[in-house]
């Protein structure tokens, strides 16, 4: 069905980061109809490049040097336009926000069919099918900008399903999703597989693909190193998986490195009778909560439950009733912002300077050059100090943000989904960084769905529930068990629903 023959791909890099090495180096791969192939490996191994070859984005959309032939159902992609390929290859991307072309869900579902030139009746029929098969009843006729990431991803899948392709290509589709949505994604893939569709997924997160994959293709530096049948991959030890850069397949297997319990320190963050309302509805309520100094706090909960709101309140971006005391005093917005730092999921919106070095110095009067150099050194960024911040990789940008925070002597560090798209190494490096800097800042707060991250570096967990109840508990033996169970349940619950969405 699909055949890659001796493919080599070379990207053209940016001015600051010219990469002359091949993204893919003479690989060959055959995929049969009905298979579910999982491409895995560290970041930059070439899995995304393969997905781009399959939908024609390379070489027609992303200019890259391509050698070799990509044969789809007997025809070479060189002889087809992206549109022609889209008739039988559907593509789902990482970022739900930027995939959507319309402002309303129904229009978005119909978009692909319209591009194919189908008649109105045919489109109606296809849409009905999509809505039924993916349980999208509650999502039609709505404003796209009001949907959650998971809901947007389901609409994207529905839109492609309506085009009825034989092959589905997904590039890290779970990256920006919470556990519930990942469960729903699993259900969708299960449906597709049962219909005999051919699926190719490039992924870091492997746990939701366990019963779906027929083959795992492991890549490194643009070469296919190994192929695994599902049982073979599960047999690989956790330690070896680490070396390969693969995330865990089994929540029970996650190793939690516990650091020695520290003596109780003074309270750094105190929430008293906190109440946040929007449109006459209460979205967040915290009667009495204290976070102690030098704690790493993980905030978990479903999407939309108020995690980002909480951070916005502390940083003074959102109005609230009640009191938030930082190190014992109520500070005004300016003071809080001066002492806080937020690393967002999309770091691009917070990079301002011309060089990495300038970025660290930014915002602080009377620059201390030596200190800045030292901090960059500590975080492994010295070699990059004259590069443009936006030319760095995702993990490097994060380290740059942390460097800026430390240099600026920030007391409160906030992270919003820092590891969603990261491979194992990067995630563990992040944990390392957090632990190393735990005593440097007063409080570290991380919003995350990533169980491995939580067990890797958090001291306490704050769970926010939809019914506005909250639960703060330490990650001791009991706490770890509790968190594991919570996550496993959240995920399994979705699988049992078999396509029914509540």
């Amino acid at each position: 069905m699909i055949r890659l023959n001796n493919i080599s791909v070379a990207y053209e890099g940016g001015q600051d980061n010219p990469s002359h090495q091949n993204a893919l180096d003479n690989i060959s791969l055959t995929i049969e109809k009905g298979e579910c192939i999982v491409l895995c490996g560290k970041s930059g191994c070439g899995k995304t490049t393969i997905t781009r070859l399959l939908n024609g984005l390379i070489p027609m959309f992303y200019p890259a040097g391509l050698q070799g032939e990509v044969m789809l159902m007997g025809k070479s992609t060189r002889d087809m336009t992206i549109r022609e390929i889209s008739q039988f290859v559907g593509s789902v991307f990482q970022n739900p926000k930027s995939q959507i072309f319309n402002v309303d869900t129904t229009g978005e579902l119909a978009f692909g069919c319209e591009n194919q030139g189908l008649s109105r009746d045919a489109i109606h029929h296809r849409l009905k099918q999509s809505v039924q098969d993916f349980s999208l009843e509650k999502l039609i006729n709505r404003d796209i900008f009001r949907l959650s990431g998971g809901e947007k991803q389901r609409i994207a899948c529905g839109s492609i399903y309506a085009m009825n392709p034989d092959i589905y290509v997904l590039d890290e589709p779970s990256s920006n999703l919470d556990l519930q949505s990942i469960g729903q994604l699993h259900n969708i893939l299960k449906q597709l597989k049962s219909q005999g569709k051919t699926i190719i997924i490039s992924e870091h997160r492997l746990h939701y693909l366990k019963e779906l994959a027929t083959r795992y293709i492991f890549l490194e530096d643009g070469k296919i190193l190994n192929e695994y049948r599902p049982a073979e991959l599960e047999a690989v030890s956790e330690a070896d998986k680490r070396k390969m850069g693969l995330r865990t397949q089994d929540f029970d297997q996650i190793d939690s490195k516990r650091v020695a319990k520290q003596p109780l320190k003074e309270v750094a963050m105190d929430f008293q009778q906190l109440l946040v309302r929007r449109n006459k509805q209460t979205i967040l309520k915290m009667a009495n909560l204290q976070i102690r100094k030098n704690t790493v706090l993980a905030i978990v909960g479903e999407n939309g439950v108020g995690k980002s709101c909480l951070i916005a309140c502390v940083m003074g971006f959102l109005n609230y009733q009640g009191d938030i005391l930082l190190n014992g005093s109520k500070k005004n917005k300016q003071a809080r912002q001066a002492e806080s730092f937020l690393v967002m999921q999309d770091v691009n919106s917070q990079l301002f300077a011309r060089t990495v070095f300038d970025e660290v110095l930014l915002g602080v009067k009377s620059p201390d050059l030596k200190k800045a150099h030292a901090i960059l050194d500590q975080l492994g960024l010295s070699a990059l100090s004259q590069r443009h911040p936006a030319s760095l990789s995702g993990g490097q940008k994060q380290r740059l943000a942390i460097a800026s925070a430390i240099y600026g002597q920030k007391k409160y560090l906030f992270f919003d989904e820092p590891t969603s798209g990261l491979d194992r190494q990067s995630m563990e490096a992040f944990c390392q960084l957090i632990l190393e800097n735990r005593e440097v800042v007063d409080v570290t707060v991380i919003i995350t769905h990533d169980l491995e991250l939580i067990l890797g570096c958090a001291d306490e967990v704050l769970l926010l529930n939809r019914d506005l109840s909250i639960d703060l508990y330490p990650l001791d033996e009991a706490g770890i068990k509790k968190t594991r169970t919570l996550f496993i349940n959240l995920y399994e619950k979705q699988l049992q629903k078999e396509g029914l969405y509540v």
């Binding site: 940016g14 001015q15 600051d16 980061n17 011309r354």
Partner: protein, 192 residues
Amino acid sequence: MKKKLSTKELILAGAFAAIFVVGLIAMAVITGFTPVTFLMVAFLTGIVLGPIYMLYINKVPKRGTILILAALCGLVMSSTSFYPLLFSLLCGLAAEVTSGLGNFESPKHNVLGYGFFSSMFVGPFLSILFAKEAFFKSMTQYYGEAYVANFASLAPEGIILGLIISGFIGGIIGGVLGNKALKHHFKRAGIV
């Protein structure tokens, strides 16, 4: 490279137009607060939107790129009459020709082209000018000729030409800024 704008390039054109138009409306609103600043709308807008324009033409250095942007901006400014749209298309055409002389890739030609382009930012002013006409007519009903003449003196005929020139100069400055942004940021970040 094919001469016609590809599908991808059309989509990029729309996205850049969105950024451009949001900036344009923001500038019109901000400068519109006092009459003095509103007279500077073309000049200031030319400067502020320069980096957007220069990134755009560098990403899609082809015939038609500028004209599409000019058309979309013209539409946005043309709420009260067709003149802003026509004028925008004219400025866009001048910019196309100028940039075209440098094959759309020469920084100097692009800056000059943007100068012509940004002359169109008198559009919001034209709107108010037409509104003023409407006023004067209704004010004459209430207050009489002399009073109206007083107000009219605040906006002499030649002012339009002065504004257009100020737009041009703002464009030159904005274009130079844009080129600097390209050099220090966009090219090094790898987005061009």
